[in-house]
């Protein structure tokens, strides 16, 4: 038995050593380092690092209006993605029902999630461009030319344009998740309900939705986490502009570090995002427990 134990130990060390070391160097250490740097004033290059206590945190709350403007934009994304959830669910129910050609619709609906995000961003920059833009042309053709706007340079509109692109890219992903959730419901249960005379809406409410709690949970979490970290589309399409009108929390944090060379402040913001994600995760895991207690 001793022999086996020794062999087992050796196997574990050999197999886990490299992955754990990589994790420590490239994930754990940087995370700890972010927390340390959040208490410093540092430009990222010089040797001089000044310890400033919680000054960065105070500045973040009291003296960073653009950061909060950016976070409000994240909130806008979240609201619209939430509004989309019932619609996505309805589409999933539709595509899960008997229907010719649903395979093709399913494939097309998921397409935006798979193709290059940079490509999509430029495609929509062109689609909404003020010169020869396809969207303004569509309005033109439909005699709606009074609605023509500067979709990407008007600070009041730009976020909604980007939210449209975000929904275009990510909604299909949720539809596919909902479909696989609907498929995981046991067919016997559905059949039994059908024999008992439940119509399709009743079946959806009484059987399919409850057993989809897990998928719903995942989609909600993905929405919150995804919108909180939303970055790529505004980064490529508008760089957060005009001004900071279409910035997001992550975009502003990245700019603070790599554009303004304020690594202390940027780390503070990064810690804030980490805390927000962790909190959302904790709340998400607590809600079902609280509900069960009742």
């Amino acid at each position: 038995m001793k022999m086996i134990e020794k062999k087992q130990k050796r196997f574990l060390v050999v197999s886990l050593l490299i992955p754990v070391i990589l994790l420590l160097i490239f994930v754990v250490y940087p995370a700890i380092n972010l927390i340390q740097t959040s208490f410093l004033e540092w430009d990222g290059i010089s040797q001089v690092k000044e310890y400033v206590g919680i000054q960065n945190y105070i500045n973040m709350f009291t003296n960073s209006p653009n950061l909060w403007l950016s976070l409000r934009n994240n909130g806008l994304y979240l609201v619209f993605h939430m509004i989309m959830i019932p619609i996505e669910l309805s589409i999933a129910v539709m595509l899960n029902s008997k229907m010719k050609g649903r395979g093709i619709v399913k494939s097309i609906i998921f397409l935006p999630f798979v193709i290059s995000g940079v490509g999509i961003s430029y495609a929509f920059a062109y689609f909404f461009s003020p010169v020869n833009g396809a969207f303004n042309e569509i309005l033109n053709v439909c005699n709606l030319d009074t609605f023509i706007r500067n979709w990407l340079s008007d600070p009041k509109i730009v976020n909604f344009t980007l939210i449209f692109v975000s929904i275009w890219r990510f909604s299909g992903y949720h539809v596919i998740l909902f479909i696989s959730g609907l498929k995981s419901v046991s067919p016997e249960l559905l059949e039994a309900a059908e024999i008992d005379g439940a119509n399709s809406l009743q079946r959806l409410r009484a059987i399919q939705l409850p057993s989809m709690a897990l998928v719903m949970d995942f989609v909600l979490f993905d929405c919150i986490r995804g919108t909180l970290q939303h970055f790529e589309i505004p980064f490529v399409m508008t760089q957060g502009g005009p001004g900071y009108a279409s910035s997001t929390f992550t975009l502003y944090t990245i700019d603070t570090a790599f554009k303004f060379n304020d690594f202390g402040m940027a780390s503070t913001m990064a810690v804030a995002i980490m805390i927000m994600v962790m909190m959302i995760y904790l709340i998400k895991n607590m809600i079902p427990k609280l509900l069960k207690k009742r």
Partner: protein, 276 residues
């Protein structure tokens, strides 16, 4: 009657969805076949006359010196990161799922933390680590970051290993098989479906990733498809017809992966969300 109406409604909705999704992509495709003059004379929603269609824009894109190296760099990064991701991922998942040892809880917690940590902002402090290891502006930077921090494979492999009966390991052990052999000859082959899913979905993710290559490999020789498109776009400012051709070219690799391996992609994305 009601049934017919419902069926009709479904088709109307489906066609609307397809239009919204394909429309903007078609506009790009049409534009990529236009000349500079067409951009003014032909509606953005239409193709020019068939006889006037030009492939000049594509010739322009393919004549760019850096497109070929972007394809090569992307392929190299995908192959190397995937190779190590699969090996490390499967063996780590096996070790953590099948054995009990002292540090297990801590290691599991660390990996979990790694999966939770927000992407993008992490680069603020990872940037220095990469720099001090001399990996800045090398293909090694994205490769090592993908290997170390892209951890979805652990989750999928652990799910899968749970489903393999432990008696299989035990009887092999009794037959005098070592752990390495058990893993490589019995467990790893059984993980093939999970591996296939992971290979497909991670390739797509890595090919489409923009920020890590953008941040760590500014050199023109080290462009990936995504960053090639970005620098091409800033060079072609305003010439949408040429940029459109570049967009189409850059979308082709993941699009073809999607067309051929759709099943794996659907499985991969829903692995985390359904049944656990």
């Amino acid at each position: 009657m009601k049934k017919v109406f419902m069926q009709g409604l479904k088709y109307v909705i489906s066609i609307l969805i397809i239009l919204v999704i394909i429309g903007p992509l078609l506009v790009v495709l049409f534009t990529s076949f236009k000349t500079k003059e067409h951009m003014v004379t032909v509606s953005p929603l239409l193709l020019p006359d068939f006889s006037e269609i030009t492939l000049e824009n594509y010739r322009d894109v393919f004549s760019s010196k850096y497109l070929l190296s972007a394809f090569k760099n992307t392929a190299f990064i995908v192959l190397v990161s995937l190779f190590f991701n699969i090996i490390f991922g499967s063996i780590t998942a096996y070790a953590l799922e099948r054995f009990h040892f002292k540090l297990k809880r801590i290691i599991v917690a660390l990996f979990f933390l790694g999966m939770m940590i927000p992407t993008f902002v992490m680069e603020i402090s990872r940037f220095k680590v990469i720099g001090s290891l001399g990996l800045y502006n090398t293909l090694g930077a994205p490769i090592i970051i993908y290997i170390a921090s892209d951890l979805m494979q652990l989750y999928i492999y652990r799910q899968f290993i749970k489903g393999i009966p432990i008696e299989l390991d035990e009887s092999a052990l009794l037959d005098g098989c070592g752990y390495y052999r058990i893993f490589s000859k019995i467990i790893f082959p059984l993980l093939a479906p999970a591996t296939a899913t992971l290979v497909i979905i991670k390739s797509v993710n890595i090919i489409n990733d923009m920020y890590i290559p953008y941040l760590y490999m500014p050199s023109t020789r080290l462009k990936t498809l995504s960053t090639f498109l970005m620098s091409y776009a800033s060079a072609q400012q305003g010439s949408w017809q040429i940029l459109a051709a570049a967009i189409v070219v850059v979308m082709i690799p993941t699009l073809s992966i999607y067309i051929f391996f759709q099943k794996y992609i659907f499985e991969g994305v829903s692995a985390g969300a359904v049944k656990s």
